[in-house]
Symmetry: C2
Subunit: 343 residues, 2 copies
DNA sequence: ATGAAAGCGCTAACAT
DNA sequence: ATGTTAGCGCTTTCAT
């Protein structure tokens, strides 16, 4: 059935096989324009028989339309971005748009290279994690002439639209909850800040909330590299050895928080009375630990949905004004590792 | 600096701004062909000043070359594929090739649609998870005229190249190790089989190994949906309630295995003496649990590297024969949840 | 309802 | 070292 030439098939091949003009074949294959039922069938059969796969490169060049949305995120391996992706996919699945993912590995220069590469394919929109980018990246986004949505973080100025939560506020709220619960000797455990702006902002909001209550972080421990349980254990041990009278551990993500929690339970600490813990992210993978870690949902799924929705709407109706600002409000999941407020 | 027209910039704009022909501008921007240092500088400056981003669509159409590698995997959310992706990226980063990921969500019809979509962009190669595909998918891959590498699994016939491990053999070896250790009443906990061919093959190899020792699986429990600790706990509880005298639990992945392990320890079972456990995958995220789960490394990183290497080599040298078959051999990580052989 | 011509923005191949 | 010409495989636009 399949003609075996060592040349990719073109519309012309389908046209010849079906005896219908290239133009009409194109119309059938795109399901666009008036075509008689009869010719439609002839074309479809010929295309299937030949095993024709349209060349979107030529199509895109001719139509000046590319149904791709560039999604640029730091990493896929830490459980937060896959959930954002799901939200994006859910919404784009209802449209002709398709997400294409690029990874920056938290490096601005890599982010810039990925952005350049993706823009060179002329996507319909860009969804980009974070608000901190190289000046060149910002310039590219400003000049791209397509919807740009910066996601996750809202503490700063987007190039165009933004969807996210205030990480400063998130840190603040957790700090306040901890103060409310009567903890006094609080430690922070997290990623090395320069690498992760959102963690830094949470830390800033957090220390600010403590300061309001006259408290300071009594110890801190930073790491870089993948976050697993073991990292959480090690860091927790380090803090507890160094500062035995600490009474609260605030982790910059749930994964290290969970590792820390397991360590504390093993060491026989009474959680949350002698020692409280909290993480960040609401990783539901972790439900099933001996105790539920207190955490805060970062609204990742909803962020993905809203960002995709903005790109979809603006693609469908390019006259829309742009500059959307959607600030979601995360809530604390109290879990079992923060004692109830003591007044 | 940046000219502000509402039309995407073209090579011609850079050509006019620099007073150099389009062709030479193209050569400079691609770093190809002899160009005097002087004109190179003029072109580069003009391009940067304008904020020109090349149009790869036009470039690809003209050159008939697309430096994209289609990677089609079931999902990103279960920790096994991100590691494969890292292996792929590591190798492709040394080449002009770029991975583009598509997700099948374990559905053959979705896989087919994603493949069609990706092939329509005329990638340089395809890396596809698994050996089981719809007939139409196999036909597309056969006719694509580019390197096709099927990964993860080697129990079957690939369209072109394959890189992976034998999951049947992996199940067998774990079964043999369990028998060796003297366990007699073994249960299996895993995904619903039709959804996951590799889990099914492990199960088949596993039961076969038990059968050789005159044993049968005494209970089994299946689930669908995301694998988290909680699923593992629930399934484990179900099995232990139903079959209290079970002495070994074999899980189809480490995530549910870890949930099960936590449950067993909480319930006070003596692990690995009264009750042994094993998982599959070697998720190093999980190091840091109270006990190391016995598991088997699926060589995911190496699979990614080798697959990418095949695509890279064949892209660089299209005359290579193809049909590569790379079968990796996973090893058991004994951990703390399988008692030592008792002869 | 169908077709013919022109051209999308680049690069291969061939001048010079 | 640089320029010219002719497409790449489609879709847009305009005829019929």
């Amino acid at each position: 059935m399949t003609a075996d030439l060592r040349r990719p098939l073109t519309l012309r091949d389908v046209s010849e096989a079906s005896g219908v003009s290239e133009m009409t074949v194109s119309r059938v294959l795109r399901g666009q324009g008036e075509v008689s039922a009869q010719t439609r069938v002839r074309v479809l059969e010929a295309a299937r028989a030949l095993g024709y796969v349209p060349n979107k490169i030529a199509g895109a060049l001719a139509s000046q339309r590319v149904n791709l949305v560039a999604v640029i995120i730091p990493s896929m391996s830490n459980m937060v971005f896959p959930e954002v992706m799901m939200g994006i996919s859910e919404v784009l699945d209802e449209t002709p748009l398709q997400p294409v993912v690029g990874l920056s590995h938290y490096k601005p220069e890599r982010e810039e290279a990925v952005l350049y590469e993706m823009l060179s394919w002329r996507p319909s929109g860009v969804i980009m994690a974070g608000l901190e980018h190289s000046e060149a990246s910002r310039a590219m986004m400003r000049n791209a002439g397509i919807p740009i949505v910066e996601i996750m973080d809202t503490d700063g100025e987007p190039v165009d639209a933004m969807v996210g939560i205030s990480h400063r506020r998130a840190g603040q709220e957790m700090g306040e909850a901890i103060v409310q619960s009567g903890y006094k000797r609080v430690a922070f455990l997290g990623t090395k800040m320069p690498l992760d702006h959102r963690a830094r902002k949470r830390f800033e909001g957090f220390t600010q909330a403590l300061a309001k209550a006259g408290l300071e972080v009594v110890d801190q421990e930073f790491y870089s590299g993948g976050s697993g349980f073991e990292k959480g254990r090690e860091m927790t041990k380090a803090v507890l050895d160094r500062t035995p009278d600490v009474d609260f551990l605030y982790y910059s993500n749930d994964m290290i928080g969970a590792g820390g929690l397991l360590y504390c339970l093993e060491m026989g600490f009474s959680v949350p009375n002698r020692l409280g813990l909290a993480g960040f992210n609401g990783v539901n993978l972790l439900r099933g630990l001996p105790k539920h870690l207190t955490t805060m949902d970062a609204c990742r799924h909803e962020i993905g949905r809203q960002a995709a929705q903005i790109v979809a709407s603006r693609t469908e109706n390019p006259k829309l004004p742009g500059g959307e600002r959607i600030i979601l409000t995360p809530a604390i999941t109290r879990g079992d590792t923060l004692r109830v407020a003591d007044q």
